[in-house]
């Protein structure tokens, strides 16, 4: 959903698993929708980890654990690998997450998050490991994500790091603009490129 992003302070949902692929984030059987209903995808986020075959919540999965909540998901290495399905980003946004903090992201999924106004924050292993341990010990731990300053801060330990984001994408997020708005304003350059190739 297009929304302006600046500073977020929130508790976190810990998911200390590496190589979380987009088939886990949203299984293929939910890709048959022809509309972009984030609520539908959000309700099925991590479906096969979250519910058993009868549709009952599985005890032990973090989204079913009432101690944890907030709009920041904290993952491990290589988050969002595999399929390019943007439905994974819709599910994350639809569930209510606005930030995903991970040690690293798969490329396509990272773009998909940005295009859905979810901020992927790549932090060091030391930062993420400390944060995971901190959340496990105290689920009320809060993190502050400051997009204008490009910093992420563990508000319990005070550990802070800067993160990378392309200036253009930062501008888009802070102003709730998408790529197509930009491209449509650039049509004359597209046409002159095409002429040059004829």
């Amino acid at each position: 959903m297009k929304q302006k992003f600046d500073i977020i302070e929130s508790t976190c949902v810990p998911l200390p698993v590496d190589n979380v692929d987009t088939d886990q984030i949203i299984p293929a059987r939910f890709l048959k929708a022809t509309t972009r209903e984030e609520k539908f995808f959000g309700n099925n986020l991590f479906c096969d980890w979250r519910y058993d075959r009868e549709g009952k919540p599985k005890a032990g999965f973090v989204l079913n654990d009432s101690r944890f909540g907030g709009c920041i998901l904290v993952a491990g290495e290589n988050f969002g690998s595999g399929s390019s399905r943007e439905h994974a980003a819709w599910a994350i946004a639809g569930y209510g997450f606005r930030v995903v903090i991970a040690k690293s992201f798969a490329d396509i999924h990272k773009n998909n998050e940005l295009n859905n106004f979810v901020l992927p924050v790549q932090a060091s292993a030391a930062f993420v490991d400390e944060l995971q341990a901190g959340i496990a010990a105290d689920p009320s731990l809060k993190v502050r994500v400051d997009l204008p300053a490009q910093t992420v801060t563990n508000l319990v330990t005070g550990r802070t790091e800067t993160f990378d984001i392309m200036p253009y994408k930062k501008y888009c997020l802070m102003n709730a603009l998408d790529d197509i708005d930009f491209m449509l304003a650039n049509k004359s350059k597209i046409e002159s490129y095409e002429k040059s190739k004829c």
Binding site: V17, D18, N19, D21, D23, Q24, P27, A28, R29, L31, K32, A33, T34, T35, R36, D48, R53, E77, N78, S81, G82, S83, S84, R85, E86, H87, A89, S104, F105, A106, D107, I108, N111, N112, N115, N116, M166, P167, Y168, K169, Y171, D178, D179, I180, F182, M183, L184, N186, K187, K189, I190, Y193, E194
Partner: protein, 455 residues
Amino acid sequence: MNTLFDKIWDAHIVDKPEGGPDQVYIDRLYCHEVTSPQAFDGLRARGIKCLRPERIFCMPDHNTPTHDQDKPITEPLSKTQVDTLERNAREFGLTYYGMMSPDNGIIHVVGPEKGLSLPGMTIVCGDSHTSTHGAMGAVAFGIGTSEVEMVMASQCILQKKPKSMSIRVEGELGPGVTAKDLALYLMMKLTTSGATGYFIEYRGSTVRSLSMEGRLTLSNLSIEMGARGGFIAPDETTFEYLKGREYAPKGEEWDKAVAFWRTLKSGDDAVFDREVVFDAADIKPMITYGTNPGMGMPIDGTIPAGTAQKALDYMDFKAGECLLGHKVDYVFLGACTNGRIEDFRAFASIAAGRRKAPGVTAWLVPGSWMVKRQIEAEGLDKVLEAAGFEIRQPGCSACLAMNDDKIPAGKYAVSTSNRNFEGRQGPGSRTMLASPLTAAAAAVTGVVTDPREFL
């Protein structure tokens, strides 16, 4: 610097906005039914059309059943999604190869075989396996649905230029070792995130000696190493494959095109951001034991100590276990990875004169109608039928189980597809990825078998 990737990418730059990603012109956009409907809705909401409809090709492949395609799809959601693509293609004036059209098939099989994917092109699709088209010497990569909409609207994409990586493989592949084994070996060595942020150029004598089908398999799996894409510089093998194909240039245009395509190679002074080298002699037939494609090993190897317990629990395997002789319930030959004619020839080479093992359910799914026609023209269908196998109708099928072809929970499948993620082939399914030869060896024995026993 001066890599083939640089040459193709830089030749497609429309604009370099300050502090932003490159605006890259896209020569070809492919659309399937799963990742496009919301993009078409976006265009309608903005009240705009596709800027260059002639550059966009649509076909359903993920939801299509692999039997009775002449009848309406019975599953209502699948039917709606396929019908929606057709309606959108008509409304926006795009080429559409519908179910039962002789041109239909998996988008990544159809593009190359129709000559739609050509050397030097930029190609995108809302599908991570778009990297397949890199085999033609094109820069091809998967994108999300918002990006599909962007390309429909502007024929361009905003994208940060990936770094370049050279994967050089030298030497001859051993008997029974295929392009699929090479790719599984690279994934084992590099892991599923080893090439994140990079575009791969596959080089070296091993790569040069691969057939076009083998190159398509290798390029297809680039994404499983985390790469945006992977490609192979075009050469005589490429030109020979393309000549005479429907959308390939003809006559004088062909000669001009080939002359240009011959220039598409990395300079002798090319500098890659990362270079790795492997020896083909080290590669054996491969199989995966875990829940990502990087969790592979030589078929006669043992599951490494230290393998993630979550993956072992899911597969019901143990560290130290050898998979040879392990029961196999399902065999799947097909997908954009291994659904081409050469894959069926390989499978048939082992199945010929033997019988499908009792207790094995085998799904042999050609990647396109063109592949199916070729199978029939070569008589492979008769060979396979005599061995107890049935050739189904084309589509993505059990690779991601969006149609009826689902591996049941707890069952073991040897699959020639590309992903062994939890639940990928159906909730609870257990996938072992392997080559068509290894799949055939499993199909006739009912257990994981080294295909070299049949050579």
